[in-house]
């Protein structure tokens, strides 16, 4: 059987979903026998490769870098999975949306609440520009499957991956669909 080319991506999120991924513990060893991890914050690859079979995307689309990257990822992934509540709903990352834009949140964070050096960071080579609205991944590119949870428990991640490895849709139901 051909080995699965698996990628994980970390956009606007807390990395909790990746922590939960690591909670797969010894099943990770089994996974390693089925799949190669070709891109991930957990490994040291800088450029998203071509011909990826499955990509798990953690986090919402919150800045220009995310916006561009997710399009590259989508173009090079056969199956794209929204991984965790931020990717699926925007979740905590998107809570800033009710403040009505990027500038109000930057002003609030860097000017109003700052005690010293009141200044909005403006070197885009270091800090990507924020989008006005944080978006769930499927509002930016088509997503194949959704894996909710904040974070999704390891068992839920395993259900999804096992199914995908077997070429089946990752059938989640009951409490496995719980947000939060």
């Amino acid at each position: 059987m051909e080995r699965l080319r698996l990628a994980t991506l970390w956009l606007g999120g807390c990395s909790g979903c990746h922590m939960s991924f690591l909670d797969l513990d010894e099943w990770l060893i089994e996974l390693a026998q089925l799949a190669d991890i070709v891109y991930s914050p957990l490994i040291d690859v800088k450029v998203f490769p071509a011909n990826v079979d499955v990509t798990l995307v953690e986090g919402a689309v919150a800045n220009e870098d995310h916006f561009q990257l997710i399009q590259v990822v989508r173009a090079n992934s056969r199956v794209l999975v929204s991984f965790g509540d931020c990717a699926v709903t925007g979740n905590v990352t998107a809570m800033r949306n009710s403040l009505g834009g990027a500038l109000p949140i930057l002003e609030r964070s860097y000017l109003e609440l700052a005690d010293v050096h009141k200044q909005i960071p403006n070197d885009t080579s270091v800090v990507p520009r924020l989008l006005d609205r944080v978006l769930p991944v499927h509002r930016v590119v088509p997503v194949d499957f959704f894996l909710p949870g904040c974070p999704p428990p390891a068992a839920r991640i395993r259900t999804v991956l096992e199914n995908i490895v077997q070429g089946k849709p990752p059938h989640l139901e009951g409490r496995d669909l719980k947000f939060g």
């Binding site: 709903t89 959704f146 947000f179």
Partner: protein, 238 residues
């Protein structure tokens, strides 16, 4: 008391004339999902989750309102209804700011559970992200309007059980908002008795007890029915 027979999901059911389809179904062990309905309070008919199909009727009817009729054939769980229910739940999630992961009611929320019931794995609609307030002026309770689904349970509980009518709905359409008195801070309400029945009734984390943190709030919703039985039937079902 006259009795009527009807079929619900193909099952022959007998019910008291004047009962709603919801009561008849639940007594027969058929669960119709509900959201704005809660035992002990009058029916509202607003959430549209409990809509059922009735043979020969072009319109879907809310089971919480519609009375049983002799020979009625009711379907509660068709493909079409499941699709509608999921859409309605998606509309609710998109309309407010429902962030389960940081909500006091996480794990004990009827909206969250409804998403599971209808199989909602993501929301196909734009999140509106409205700017809404949090009122923490009451000494024991708080209300986070971000999590309010406008089901009016708090209004009905306060009016029908406590009798204070502290709560009501203000505004209209997507600008609707539950208010206390003249839209004054809850803590300054002249009519509130701090009885907590609104808190008992709330399906989400919108009305919560102060001090509860994420996933700690547990609304004692069954207390409402307990109170009604105690008051009206003199039965204390402890």
């Amino acid at each position: 008391m006259s009795v009527v027979t009807l079929t619900i999901d193909g099952k022959l059911v007998s019910a008291r004339a004047g009962d709603t389809i919801l009561t008849a179904a639940r007594e027969a062990g058929i669960d119709i999902p509900t959201l704005c309905y809660v035992d002990g309070l009058s029916a509202h008919g607003g959430c549209r989750i409990c809509l059922v199909e009735i043979a020969g009727s072009p319109r879907l009817q809310p089971a919480c309102f519609m009375k049983v009729g002799e020979g009625m054939e009711v379907q509660t769980d068709t493909e079409r209804l499941r699709g509608y229910r999921r859409t309605i739940v998606e509309l609710l999630f998109a309309e407010g700011n429902h962030v389960c992961s940081v909500c006091v009611a996480n794990g004990g929320c009827e909206l969250q559970d409804m998403a599971i019931t209808v199989g909602m794995d993501h929301d196909r609609f734009d999140y509106i992200h409205p700017k809404r307030e949090v009122d923490l002026s009451h000494e024991r309770f708080g209300i986070d309007h971000n999590r309010c689904i406008l089901c009016t349970r708090c209004i009905r509980a306060c009016d029908e059980l406590e009798g204070a009518h502290t709560w009501d709905m203000a505004g209209r359409g997507s600008h609707s908002k539950v208010i206390t008195d003249l839209n004054e801070p809850w803590g300054e309400s002249q009519t509130c008795t701090s009885c907590g029945k609104c808190f008992m009734a709330c399906p989400t984390g919108s009305i919560f007890q102060k001090g509860d943190t994420v996933a700690e709030t547990d609304h004692p919703r069954a207390k409402l029915e307990f109170l009604v039985n105690a008051r009206e039937k003199k039965q204390w079902n402890v």
